[in-house]
Amino acid sequence: MKKSFLDRLSDRLTELVTESQIWKAIFRHGFPDTDVNRSLVVFTNVFLHLHPVKVRKGALKVRFAWCAGGLTFFFFLVLTFTGLFLMFYYVPDTRRAYNDIKDLQTVIFFGNLTRDMHRWAAHAMVFFVWLHMMRVFLTGSYKPPREFNWVVGVLLLVMTLVLSWTGYLLPWDQLALWAITVGSKMAEATPLIGVAGPFAKELGITPSNDIRFMLLGGTIVGQSALLRFYVIHCIALPLVAAIFMTIHFWRIRKDGFSGPL
């Protein structure tokens, strides 16, 4: 059948673009509709090469892993990008933090939506970490040779919880202040290193040299605590978590998938 003028035009244009030096400099593969190109698209792309080129057909069954791990990572990305947006409008100063959140709610374009998404994605991430761990446990996927990756996963769980908890203080409202007060009361009770904990008196621990003081940068939840939580929440923990996620994903590829994946 003879091609119509439009088809020929689009073929020609496609050829012009995809055969150009610029295109070829960026993409090392053709359109992924042949086996060679489908392999190339995965291992020449930095984001896609997290995948193997081929997976067992069982891996395509959603009902094994429920996408829980992948979605946890996706929520982490959502949190990173919405968090970056929020950082432009938020200053961790007890005198203006609350007003900045009010501005986000009422004045700034998409400010409210972004904050809402950040909040709910944080809850979703905690929930999906739990879902993912439950799946991994029930399918016995932590068994040799994947023991270490389970340990990395537990550390990521702890980081997720601490990330979520440090973010709780930032709006500097009553909810924030008192939730962190409850939490730091618990830190105060740590055996040996908390002032209200067992054996603290014997070791000479006081309110100004215990673990709570280190956490809050003072004896009350105040300016130093807000700054500490801000830096931990926005920079320190996301970086550490990203490193551990890299190890986590790398080990999945190296140790191989359990089950039908």
């Binding site: 992924p32 979605l71 068994k143 939730a179 618990m186 830190a187 067992p198 054996f199």
Partner: protein, 279 residues
Amino acid sequence: MAEKEQTTAFEIFPKDRKKTYGLMELVKGTTSHIEKEPEDTAFCWPNLVYIELISLLIATIVLLAISLYSHAPLEELAGSDTTPNPMKAPWYFLGLQELLVFFDPWLAGVVLPTFIIIGLVVIPFIDINPKGSGYYSFSERKFAVTTFAFGLALWWILIVVGVWLRGLDWQWYWPWDDWREHKPPSAVTLIDLELLLQNILGIGEQVSRIATYLLCAGYYAIGFTIPFILFRKFYKQLGFVRYNLVMFLFLSMMGVPLKIFLRLMMNIKYVMVTPWFKI
């Protein structure tokens, strides 16, 4: 097309014994397989990549819908002169906060969470059952799945109680109660186990205190011994180190509902009192 790839294999010739090679099978496919057996695989692109794309699109839509419908809470400006009642931690920590009713903060907030994390970390090293790897199975790993489910249930029940059933002064409120009205403080007086022993058995202070120490140590001692005697195979499979780790974590976990039970049924505040800490 990769997804239409068929792996119909059939034997053509029996292998000639004099030869070191032979035609094994014919496989239909779109690529040649060199030094590989016929396999049941599909290309990641587009098969898996599409699943990921669809699931993250669904997640985005749901997240956007929730965000448009329900807004992140923001209360009044933080101030230390007014204390909210009740004072609640984020939901994922409310299980621990609920434990504060039954345990001192050093246990509920520090030691028990540490045990949970240590317990989770050591799971792959203490579960030496090789079966049930890579598929859902209860029958092949009854003890592991039951214990895990028990811990999970405990965690979630405490969270549900903390989120939905605790109101003013951390009192128990049903959903149909008036949540703005204070409840009268509980009429029961809590009593330490050692005092209870003194009253019931009529023994001295020192003796009853030592008796509570022995009871607590006895809980672990008996707990360690029973499986050691009755399930020798269990002990032998695990070995000395793993067995003690498993039993310590298991008994500590069971101790939590046990203490809650003693508190609720017998009004016992502490089962053990030392000069440094109370349990």
